[in-house]
Structures are given as structure tokens and as C-alpha cells.
Symmetry: C2
Subunit: 200 residues, 2 copies
DNA sequence: AGCATAACCGGACTTAGGTCCGATTGTCGA
DNA sequence: TCGACAATCGGACCTAAGTCCGGTTATGCT
């Protein structure tokens, strides 16, 4: 039982070398397949085969397909997150809440426009996947803090993020509503929703 | 070619008796399976077998699983639609736009609370299924008309409907946000978004 | 260096939605 | 009543996500 105690105290052993190598292989293979054939070519079997790895390995690393695609998007999303936390106003700290929110949605829509297919895949691979992605939780906190003076910031933040759901915006585009209208519409809504409670 | 002409002019032949009988059988089987085992029991194979019908038949009638579930919900949804078109204010015609919108969301949230699992299934069975359902198109028109004086009623109506997406609300419930908070939050958002443009 | 252990690997297997096509059967016109 | 046509039927088949488990290998301790 001394052994057990020691094992608990010991820091978790670092990732095995083969595991790390396989992770990068899988991500590279996925990236290449997507570049060549779009989302249609991005099946787990194809990725595993292209990476020279078993299917089980992919699922152990990334949990599910949604996780794999999220990992592909991770880099870009991280940049946006850092700009929000450490960047200059109005995206970063320092600007009034409403302007920060507007800046965030502008930046996020640009990101979405660049990666709509992949984001959509990561959000719809499994029902409810969208809300489990780390980035979603992050954006939700950010917006809830910006709306702190409203009656229910938690709910409002979810509603705001609903406007940038990949599925919705893919549908809007297919209906002929272009990114310009989307940006304008989102900005107007943010303006109306994040405004401080108006005194009558 | 005379034949062909006649065939075109002739009204489309009514649904074959066996086809109609099978449709009701499938719907009854689906309804029973759901009552007994919830959404988990609602697989297409199980429904087909319980209805004593081949799998192909189910798909021919209802296109896909989403269509089957939508058909199950059709009755209830129709009642709501009729109340909106022919009912008394504030849900029906006659009340100011903002009040009609508020009444609609209240009624829809009640419907959603009663059938969350099924609605979720019908909305997430296939990516983008939500927007193809007839009812969605109907609600979208209704709301766009109510927002006619806003800059982009089309986009705004989509954003408003985003608040009652089944997936989102299932997530909110699982996070401990109850229907009372949801109703209040939605009402506040509708109030802010549907308000006529304020003169500065 | 050698060994015990735990993590990792990978492919066979399961599940479920959706497609297809030969066989069947209802419907319409004569 | 009967025949031809077209819609319908049904189950075998396909695809793709996700699970499982016996074999393998890196790791860390002695």
C-alpha cells in the first residue's frame, strides 16, 4: 500500500513517445485528407489508414470524430482566445463590454467564414457536441462576464453564441444570406442584447 | 403521346390503399415504441419490424428518420400553427407584433418542454435537418413578418428561432437552467430584439 | 541491464442510418 | 372482368461511427 501511495504522489508519467508520434501522424493525415478532398474525405477509417494507425488509436486519442476535428481547429481558435485575453482593445481587455462583445463576434465570424465546414463537422458530429468543446465553454464564460449586469448572463451568453452556430450559418449562406448581412444582423442583435438595462 | 398528355392532365392518382395503411401502421408502431422505451427504442429497424413492414417502406414514406419523427410531432405542431393563424390575440392576429412574438415563444417553449426528446431527435437526426422541417419554415415566416420593420427580418427571425433549438435547451436543462429561467431569458431577448427601432 | 507493469496498439466486431433492385400488388382504362 | 402499367414492397447490402480485447511495447524501478 506504500506503493500505491507513492504512485498517487508521483506526477502522472508523461505521454509515451509512440503515443505522441501517433497523435501528430493522425493530425497530419487528417489535415492532408481534408485539404485534398474536403469534409467528405475526412472519415475516421481513412484518417487512420492514411496515418498508418489502427482505428482504435484515433478514438483513444480524440474520443470521437468531433474531438479529432476540434484538434485540427485548435491552433486557430487558440490565437483568437489569446487575443481576447491578452490582446489590445476592443477585442482584449480595456474596452466597454458592448464593444468587446461586438469585436468578439466580428472576429469569430471571420474565423467561422474561413473554416465553416470543419467547425460544422466538429459541432454536429454528435448531438450536443458543440457545447462540450472546450472553446465553447471558454466563449460562454467570456460573454457571460461581459453581460454581468443583465438579469441572466448565463442564459444570455448561450443565446448569443447560438447566433454563430455553424449549422445555422451554413443554412443562411445556402439561402443566399451572405456574410455581410450576417455580420450586420449579428452586430445589431449584440447591440440590442448586451446594452445595459435601460432606465425608463 | 396522346396518352402522355392525358396522364399529365389527370390529377395525380390518390395514394394506394396499401401505402396509406402502411403509413398509419408505421406511425402507430413508432408511437408505441417511443412510449415504451423512449428515444433509444426508436430505431428505424425496430419501427419497421414492429410495423410488420420493410425498412425501405419507412424511408420511402418519410425520407429519413428526421421525417418520421416530424410526422409523429405533426399533430401537436399543427394545433400551434392554427392557433397562430386563426386563434385569438395575443397569439393570433390582432395584437401588436412584439406581444404576438412573446406569446408565440411562450407557447412554443411549452410545446418544447412537453416533447423535448422527440423534437431534438427530429432536429439533429441529420445535419441541417432542423431548417428543412416544414414547421421551421412556417415559424420563420411568421416571425419575419412580425419583424418587418427591422433592418433584416429574415436574419433576425433565424436568430430568434435559434433560441428555441432543442439541442440548446437540452443543454441548458442539463446545466441546471430550468424552464422558468429559459422562459424569462427568451422573453427578455425577444423584448429587446423585436422592439421597433428606437429613435435616438 | 533486466523485469514487472501499465499504457498503447490495431483490427475485427457491432450498431444504425440510408440505398437499391427484383418481386409483388393495387389501380385505371377498356 | 381482365390486362398493362406503375407505384409499392421488403430485405439484402453499403457506409461510417464507435467498441472491445488479446497481443505488444515503452517506462520506471531495482
Amino acid at each position: 500500500m506504500n506503493d500505491e501511495l507513492l504512485r498517487v504522489l508521483r506526477r502522472p508519467p508523461r505521454e509515451r513517445a509512440d503515443a505522441a508520434r501517433n497523435r501528430t501522424r493522425v493530425l497530419e493525415a487528417a489535415s492532408r485528407l481534408f485539404a485534398e478532398g474536403g469534409v467528405a474525405a475526412l472519415t475516421v477509417d481513412a484518417v487512420a489508414q492514411a496515418a498508418g494507425v489502427g482505428k482504435g488509436t484515433v478514438f483513444r486519442r480524440f474520443d470521437d470524430k468531433s474531438g479529432l476535428v476540434s484538434a485540427l481547429l485548435d491552433q486557430r481558435e487558440r490565437e483568437l482566445q489569446e487575443a481576447v485575453v491578452f490582446g489590445r482593445p476592443p477585442l482584449g481587455p480595456g474596452a466597454p463590454a458592448r464593444e468587446r462583445a461586438l469585436a468578439f463576434f466580428d472576429a469569430y465570424l471571420a474565423y467561422l467564414a474561413d473554416h465553416l465546414d470543419l467547425v460544422r463537422l466538429s459541432e454536429t458530429a454528435a448531438p450536443g457536441a458543440r457545447f462540450r468543446i472546450g472553446a465553447y465553454v471558454f466563449w460562454h464564460r467570456h460573454l457571460a462576464i461581459l453581460c454581468a449586469d443583465r438579469p441572466d448572463p448565463d442564459h444570455l451568453a448561450h443565446v448569443l453564441l447560438g447566433m454563430v452556430a455553424a449549422d445555422l450559418n451554413a443554412e443562411l449562406l445556402s439561402q443566399g444570406i451572405d456574410w455581410g448581412r450576417i455580420r450586420a444582423g449579428v452586430a445589431a442583435a449584440v447591440d440590442a442584447l448586451v446594452a445595459p438595462v435601460h432606465a425608463p
